[in-house]
Symmetry: C2
Subunit: 665 residues, 2 copies
């Protein structure tokens, strides 16, 4: 007879199942940020009706010991516990659950006593249970429990002994010393990667240092960028992201507007990295020195800005690695090195890294060392160019490697690619991802797409960075819609996403000239530009106001707790974001039509917002500073994009009533 599956020991009775927020059965860690309250849930149940106890066991980075947090039963066998992650790095959670004999016995005793039945046997059973609990207890509890066990099992009157047995003091004491020998231990551990808050919440500003000069024709420098810092910080940005700052190759350099051949003065694309002056750890001579860079990082920090660097693991034909490590590139049968191509397009200015090289160990180390070089100079954020063209295994290893020593470092994936690939990059360690935001411009698109991103499990490992434009992407919506379109996209990005980004100054200066497709005409990728950032029509004050609203409203600091509201107009989008305790509630109403006035009725989920259906409440438009009194579950809104295309309301629940009047009582 087949008997392979019979367990060696009488198996534990309790089942622990459907643990959240676990990702892919524990293959990847769940992401949270410093200070987050983490809620772990599980189905915990057993056969029959015995009382259960479940505890969440928690261990932070470097901890040898586990801390236990009691889990609470909700409905339908669902249990939860919450704890705060107060250190950066990898955390672990485990779950233990067991049948609590004392609680089960006590419930049975109470039921029989309430039914007026004899409880003689129950008291004897209880005495034995309490006696065993006393042997597990220590200190004064030990003797105290033993004494009560004798009392409960003794020869006194049954009612007296039953009352003693049911006393809350006795139960709670005994419960502190459970018999866990037959506890079920969940078969896995839940891993949680705790990252800096900036990994989820921040406003990014991208700019080309070479265009930062105050004089139209002079190549910008790091010193110019330092001069520009008050401008960027004044708009309320948190992260200053610089495209590659390294020497640019000369061989096959691209010209302005991506012409195949560069003119003598064309500076080339910063992504064509590497020249005689050096590669990924060198500074482009026209920008300054490493010392200048250090001064920029320091000055930025003084303005509350983190500098994010671009990590583009590819080389120009002039990169020192091409001669130092030729085996890191793919050599063709005709003796040439393979350049990037997508026939008929050729990118002869770029040699991809050949990750399939036999020398992959040294290559991986070399690339990691590039990151560590800049980490040592104070950089904590890396925007990674096209990570989806390099092996996932490399990223998983490299990111883990860097963060083991520097848990405050994080990486943004610039992967505009298929959903499965983007999700996987997030799983293997990227803290943020560029997104499809620029291509989501209708109400239906935005609602469906954003809902997927803020819903578990995706929201537990992937965080979007909602850039409104990039040097490669000037969407037709912006090209056509003018100033209102720029405002609409700013409001959407800044309030739908906890992290948003602007590539400026073209964005705030409402630059709409394209080279035909989505590329900017005379784009900065291939030339330096001069921008008059003081222009009076700049969106600078509008963006500053949005970022101010973001800072003031913690509801906007996370991606979850976003809820779209029904509106009877398909051009109007309404959504609400709240903090978990509802102390901060932001209601955004924004038109997606940059041309015409739109009106509509919004349905408000009063219950979910903790609002009383019978009392008025105030909504305060943080953009226009107007205030409205609303009441009931439906609200009328009108939006004229020519004035301002959105309301960003803070909901204020408390209104004064006659009871607040001085002489009311």
């Amino acid at each position: 007879m087949h008997d392979a599956t019979k367990p060696a020991e009488s198996p534990p009775r309790v089942v622990i199942d459907r643990v959240t927020p676990e990702i892919d059965a524990g293959r990847f860690p769940t992401k949270r940020v410093l200070g987050d309250e983490v809620t772990v849930g599980a189905d915990v149940f057993t056969e029959g009706h015995d009382r259960l106890v479940a505890v969440l066991r928690v261990r932070g980075p470097g901890d040898d010991d586990w801390r236990e947090v009691p889990m609470t039963a909700l409905v339908n066998d669902r249990w939860e516990a919450t704890f705060t992650v107060d250190r950066l790095g990898p955390w672990e959670c485990a779950i233990d659950a067991w049948v609590d004999e004392i609680a089960t016995w006590r419930a049975g005793l109470v039921a029989k006593r309430d039914a007026g039945l004899d409880v003689a046997s129950e008291l004897l059973e209880g005495a034995a249970l309490l006696e065993r609990a006393s042997t597990r207890a220590d200190g004064p509890d030990r003797a105290w429990l033993a004494e009560h066990a004798r009392l409960v099992g003794g020869s006194g009157e049954q009612a007296t002994r039953a009352a003693a047995a049911m006393s809350p003091a006795l139960t709670s004491c005994a419960l502190r010393f459970p018999d866990r020998t037959r506890a079920t231990r969940w078969e896995r551990t839940l891993r949680i990667a705790v990252e800096p808050e900036r990994a989820v919440y921040g406003a990014w500003y991208e700019m080309f240092p070479r265009s930062a000069s105050s004089e139209p024709d002079r190549h910008g420098t790091f010193a110019d960028v330092v001069q520009r810092l008050p401008y960027v910080a004044g708009m309320g940005f948190d992260v200053l992201y610089l495209p590659p700052i390294h020497p640019i190759g000369r061989t096959h350099r691209k010209g302005r507007n991506n012409l195949p051949v560069a003119g003598p003065d064309d500076p080339g694309s910063p992504w064509g990295i590497g020249a005689a002056e050096g590669g990924h750890t060198a500074i482009h001579p026209s920008l300054g020195t490493l010392g200048d860079f250090d001064r920029l990082v320091t000055a930025a920090r003084e303005h509350g800005l983190d500098v994010a660097l671009d990590l583009a693991f590819q080389c120009s034909p002039d990169h020192p690695w091409v001669t130092e490590h030729p085996q890191w590139f793919r050599h063709r049968p005709d003796g040439t090195i393979q350049y990037a191509e997508n026939p008929p397009k050729k990118y002869q200015d770029i040699y991809p890294i050949h990750f399939e090289t036999d020398d992959w160990r040294a290559l991986w180390d070399g690339l990691r060392d590039v990151v560590l070089f800049w980490v040592a100079r104070g950089v904590r954020i890396f925007r990674v160019d096209n990570p989806h063209t390099k092996p996932f295994a490399f990223w998983e290893w490299m990111i883990a490697e860097v963060r083991a020593a520097h848990p405050d470092v994080f990486f943004l994936a610039e992967a505009f690619t298929r959903p499965a690939v983007m999700r996987h990059l997030a799983k293997v360690g990227f803290s943020q991802s560029y997104s499809y935001f620029t291509w989501r411009n209708t109400k239906a698109e935005l609602t469906a797409w954003m809902t997927e991103l803020v819903t578990p499990p995706v929201s537990d490992y992937m965080r979007p960075n909602l850039f409104v434009n990039t040097p490669d992407i000037l969407h037709e919506y912006l090209q056509i819609g003018g100033r209102p379109a720029f405002q609409i996209r700013s409001v959407l990005a800044a309030t739908l996403g906890a992290t948003w980004g602007v590539y400026g100054p073209p964005f705030e200066l409402i630059e709409t000239a394209s080279s035909g497709g989505e590329d900017y005409l005379d784009g900065e990728k291939y030339q330096q530009r001069h921008w008059d950032v003081e222009r009076p029509d700049s969106l600078r004050p509008f963006i500053a106001r949005l970022n101010r609203i973001r800072r003031d409203n913690p509801a906007l600091h996370r991606n979850d707790r976003l809820r779209f509201l029904p509106v009877d107009n398909d051009r109007l989008l309404a959504y609400v974001k709240t903090t978990p305790d509802l102390s901060n509630q932001v209601l955004v109403v924004v038109t997606v039509d940059p041309h015409h006035r739109q009106t509509g009725w919004i349905e408000l989920p009063l219950d979910a917002l903790g609002l009383d259906a019978t009392e008025a409440f105030q909504v305060h438009d943080l953009v226009s500073d107007a205030r409205f009194l609303w009441d009931g579950p439906r609200a009328f809104v009108a939006i004229d994009p020519a004035v301002v295309p959105a309301h960003v309301f803070r909901i204020r629940r408390r209104l004064r009533t006659e009871k607040d009047f001085d002489y009311f009582l």
Copy 2:
């Protein structure tokens, strides 16, 4: 430097992820039945744009070798393969995927050739790839590939060599000998439990043998049940389920209508198992002998009926085990054995099994042997009483144990309990589960509840058995709604679920008398009854018609492929079930109002049904035999419950047109 995570070998590049229909990361097998087409899906992708190949590896029960089925790429990196399970028992699936160098190279060559670029280097690379492929080939392919490798890499004209390189014959031959040394093998295997078709599709009839006598006051026998078989089979049932057939205890026997004390002639509850005459492997003397039972099983089979037995693992105080294995019961400090209780209710006629006994190994074996005893007598289906009060680990072991030797045996869980517990019983091995069906009577309830059951992952491991009533459950909907209510519930159960059940004759005889709650007045659990099954008002012909419709329409043989349709009347429920190839399509429109005429407009998903929006189609009501011509996506229906409360339409796509007319051409 932290370096723990760097792999020892250059890791495979392809990711295999989100494999369906996997249950709980492989902890439990997925369920299918004999003859099913099984579709396995996975996300398969790698960095960059190289061409991939993925194969599903399949192994049936007892197979040493794996068979490979090519997987096909759908959209968004999703791949699928389908195979048929043609043997009962445990199957396994694995997945391998790799970068196909030949296909990748060929795609690059074609792109460059189409762009008019020089392909000299591509041809040399291809020659090397083909040469390596030839070393992996065998038979004539080996020499043929080597020869073509030389041709492609030779000194001929480039256009000639390119044409040879791109010939489909060459590519398809080379692809048959891929380099799989760097293939990714999915880290788990997908387990599939293949069960008999009856585990998903069947109509059950429950009856008490003791009430089967043709004479009002005589205790029914197995011989009487044999006489009743034509009646049951004539209604189109597939399974005859008998409540326990064992000797009934006398100690604390319950009286009629669950009275605490039995009268001298009261037969007691069949679930009070065990007396001097024997226990779980004995036959109640009044029913007959083991020989009579064998004759019943044989006769039932001749009528196309499987006999399902009740497996109630509990004992009356008179059960032989109480003296033979006292350690299998819980002894209290006062020396008594613990009976079942739910204070203030006492079930002193029932001793629960004490699964926590130190003698659990022998107990488990003993319970398994009960099952094997009846399996040896030809029983293949067991309805398990209250499995949720016995340990999950026991069920998982016992069911695996029995089915390792008898893969055609399956178990139905009678667990009316919390969702997590019901789901877990299904996961550990129960093929079917009783359900909340009797308590789902409104359109909203039925739609939400059934949608959850037919949607993966639940549908991959849990199959409902939709009983319209049970000896314990006569729902108020039936008590109040009369004949139309009984018809409505029959149609719903028989067409929503691939498996449905009736407790008769009370059901077909429209018995509505309750003892106050949901119990039947004078219910058969505690007494024998005599039923006039030939009564002219019986639902027998209606039920026979429903089961005939079920047999004739394969769309009703599975639970998946159920789709609810919008109807503009909340009393009308409309849904469609189809076979995967759409060759059989059943549209059910049923009222949930047993009292009033209802009308409404249904929205038909013409595309999903393969119907042409511009042509008429026929719907044939298989209940009334009426036929209608419909066209377009909206259809009007009217239902009068006093006539018949449902349409069960077969959709017939093909209508004759003028082109079918003999002289048309």
